[in-house]
Amino acid sequence: MSQAFSAQRFRAMLVKETLQILRDPSTLLIAFVLPLILLFLFGYGVSLDTTRIRVGLALQDMSAPAQSLATAYERSRWFEVTGRRDVEGLKPELVAGRIRGIIVIPADFGRRLAGTGEPAAIQVITDGSLPNTAGFVAAYAEGVRASWAAGQAEERGARPQPPITLLQRFWFNPELASRFFLIPGSIAIVMTMVGTLLTALVVAREWERGTMEAIMATPIGMAEFLATKVIPYFILGLGSMTLCTLVAIFAFGVPFRGSPLALLAIATAFLMPALGQGLLISAATKNQFVASQVALLSAFLPAMLLSGFLFEIASMPKIIQAITYLVPARYVIPPLQTVFVVGDLWDLFLRNIAVMLGFGALFFLLAIRATRRRIA
């Protein structure tokens, strides 16, 4: 049964919900402390930017060029060369993970370099158990060798220019700082937490503690009830987002090239499906434990892993790519990253906002249907 909307009831429920939020330390912990931890980790710690990699160097040739190349590796800004032993001695180190690669300068290096037959080859052994790092080791090892060879050639007076040069420019983020994309992305994670996880828990709690029964016996309508649940968490979500944005800009130096209005529009649009999903989960489970697990599995993990925040969607298998289209967070990552490091690109924003609002409407409708004014 629906009764006419009453501002008095509505305000009273909002006040109640707000007081409850302010009084539960765990809510505030998730809304304001967890975001700071996340930003902090993404800002300082967790980074995809490779620093110096420890490698072992097996120098088996004592010729002058071999020694010179070894020195080049030692002086390289990419490597920290830990040992100069034979390959067998370095192998356990690689197994233990204390080094990530072995560069072998073989005994015939100097002889071949001087000769005209086969070119002198160094061997690069990587730790394939970390494919990403292994790729870097291979690329940097070759890079060091190439620039060493160029230097040698220059000393001989030759200027062998590479026939084709790639002139690279990285727009928006010339220093390639990964925090430029990790921090805006983590804002989406934080809003997922506040919007879905907290909302799912609080409505399930009303069922568990028996207050739902008392509320349902009052004149409040169910849509009205759900709205009063959503608004405080919407504001909390925006507050949490604002905190993250300020910390991102002022503490981590992430640029903000778009407009606050655009950011607000993007965040608002994303909170709709997030909140709707939270309501739907709680209405369907009515149990805090189950609600929390479902929220974790259906909201947090997809936002973290299937949204394009950490992992490239295009690189995933087709079937999983198809699943990502059902993850609302997928549509918030590009506009968020754009509004920070690029600027206002309304085409891109509006396209994604429309999809998010669509998901939001769907979730809300389902939630209202699931929250019937009846005791099961």
Partner: protein, 575 residues
């Protein structure tokens, strides 16, 4: 207003298609200005009926109308509803809860101040305005729940077991408040397991297994046992054995202990047995007693259980000991600067029932918890079955059985798993464990429920299981914390038959309760109020003491309880 405020007509409700009917063709009417009682054993369908009236459930057949409209369509602002768990937000303060419900029910801003003042005054919660509801005692929560339910004068006020776990003083106050409201023309439906409350209602509906067994003034039902109730003053000695003998007779339908007397209900037309036929002193006086609603209730449901406890029959004899089974020596507990229990001392000899009584929050639970080792006393000490609570806590625990007020077994484990667990933690293994489990399963008729989740059993069976788990290891001492809270009189009688039997075997029992007829079973009672032990003695001695202090005579234990507390208040104010 003329007609009834709510009508249920031939209502049937099933929770599973083809399953048993929770309500089967029930019709009731709630008249304005009258107190309507709703009583019945566990699982009778009381809560289902209430949820139909508040529009939270739809009937399968029949109609439910509130103020002339179908319940689901009715204007909810005219219904005041207090669910069993009061519906309070524990993390909101008294005044915040009240304001919330005032706004939800659409109370005008203009009326607000006057209404709040009246309700807070009425419920005596003015002092606790800003206290969080979660920090209130049970009695205060209940009053706040009531205040929230009637913050905007409703036409229909529905209270679902408002008295469970609440002390007699608070219950009496609540009753008076609601009665006053009913006088203003509100129709009140009061569901209760306390039959003394039902007795005071204008109309009572008695449900059993989904069917209506009685509808009308309680006196109509009580009239059915008129002239069949007697009181036999046997003296305290051996009264438990005498009761068992009386209950085993075919001509006695119900019997209880009242202090040093027996109260017996006879089959129609049969005279009470002679005292010596039971083995009581021939000089014991037998006199007719005023019938009560509870007598009639038990009678209409087919009488109480027989008097011999199969549990006690199979129980070991607890050996005699020189020292008391339970000893409290100047027990004191402080939380910060708040003293919860102050200088409590008593000794309970082997084979006695000792009652701890007192209002909610007065310190009886604190005392109880110190004696069973849940709290460490700030000063003073206690001994249980000869074991010092400070130095031999684990031994003390091994020798006690514990049963808590709310059902506190593992509701999501099966009955068998609960039995296995509790026998195991008390050190029973192998054959002894199997036998102990078989014994209680048989005694408490738990066989059909063994694979069932214990949380989904009817309350009466939960209560039986809780007792079973507490006694499998045959402890010499039992701690019972409001053991029969919320269960119906029949189950309560069965429970006390077991306890009486165990006590005859030498088991010592410490019990807290809000049921005064339950307190009558005790050998001695300590009354705890404002952290202090204000009176101690046999039930009859306390009645006599209260009578002297209040200048009254022929008090019930409940009257005595209230009189002693009031006397204590007077003394404190005078000092």
């Amino acid at each position: 207003m003329a007609g009834p405020v709510a009508i249920a007509h031939a209502v049937t409700k099933r929770f599973a298609p083809g399953g048993p009917a929770a309500l089967d063709g029930v019709s009731i009417e709630i008249e304005p200005g009258r107190m309507t009682g709703l009583v019945g054993p566990d699982g009778a369908g009381k809560t289902t009926l209430i949820r139909l009236l508040t529009g939270l459930l739809d009937p399968d057949a029949g109609t439910v109308e509130v103020m002339g409209k179908a319940a689901a369509e009715a204007d909810r602002a005219v219904i005041g509803y207090m669910p069993q768990r009061f519906g309070l937000y524990e993390d909101l303060s008294v005044i915040e809860n009240l304001s919330l419900y005032a706004d939800l029910r659409g109370l005008d801003a203009g009326e607000r101040d006057a209404r709040f003042r009246r309700l807070l005054d009425f419920t005596d919660l003015e002092r606790f305005r800003t206290r969080l509801a979660g920090k209130l005692s049970g009695g205060m929560k209940q009053k706040l729940g009531l205040a929230c339910a009637m913050v905007k004068a409703p036409a229909l006020l529905v209270l679902d077991e408002p008295g469970v776990g609440v002390d007699p003083v608070s219950r009496r106050e609540l009753w008076a408040m609601v009665r006053e409201l009913a006088g203003e023309g509100i129709g009140v439906l009061w569901s209760t397991a306390y039959l003394d409350e039902a007795e005071k209602c204008d109309t009572v509906f008695l449900l059993s297994e989904g069917r209506l067994l009685h509808a009308g003034p309680p006196a109509d039902l009580t009239g059915q046992v008129e002239g069949r109730v007697f009181r036999m003053a046997t003296g305290a000695e051996g009264r438990r054995l005498l009761l068992a003998r009386a209950l085993n007779r075919d001509d006695v339908t119900d019997g209880t202990i009242q202090g040093a007397s027996l109260r017996l209900v006879m089959k129609p037309g049969i005279a009470p047995p002679a005292p010596d036929a039971l083995g009581a002193p021939a000089s014991s006086q037998v006199a007719p007693a005023v019938p009560r609603f509870e007598d009639a209730f038990v009678d209409i449901l087919g009488g109480g259980p027989p008097g011999t406890s199969a549990l006690a029959a199979a129980y070991r004899a607890v050996p005699e000991r020189q020292e008391p089974a339970i000893l409290a020596e100047r027990l004191t507990k402080r939380f910060g600067d708040f003293t919860a229990a102050d200088d409590i001392s008593f000794a309970i000899p082997r084979g006695q029932i000792f009652g701890l009584l007192g209002p909610n929050g007065a310190g009886k639970s604190t005392t109880f918890k110190m004696l069973c080792g849940l709290l460490t006393p700030t000063s003073g000490n206690g001994r249980v079955a000869g074991h010092d609570l400070r130095t031999a806590r684990a031994d003390a625990r091994q020798s006690l059985g514990y049963m808590a007020q709310k059902f506190s077994l593992y509701g999501d484990l099966s009955v068998r798993q609960n039995l296995n667990f509790f026998s195991g933690v008390y050190g029973l293994t192998g054959r002894a464990q199997r036998q102990a489990i078989e014994r209680v399963v048989e005694v408490f008729r738990l066989g059909d429920y063994l694979p069932v989740n214990s949380g989904s059993m009817p309350l009466g069976f939960k209560q039986r299981l809780a007792l079973a788990c507490a006694v499998m290891h045959q402890p010499p001492v039992l701690f019972l914390d409001e053991p029969t809270s919320g269960v119906d009189p029949i189950v309560r009688r069965e429970f006390w038959t077991h306890i009486n039997g165990l006590v005859e075997k030498g088991v010592t029992v410490l019990v807290t309760t809000h049921f005064m007829d339950e307190a009558e079973y005790c050998d001695r009672i300590a009354l705890i109020y404002r952290a202090q032990q204000i009176a101690i003695g046999t039930p009859d001695a306390l009645k006599a003491q209260a009578a002297t202090e209040a200048g009254l005579h022929d008090l019930t234990l409940e009257d005595a309880f209230i009189a002693l507390i009031e006397a204590s208040d007077r003394k404190r104010e005078a000092a």
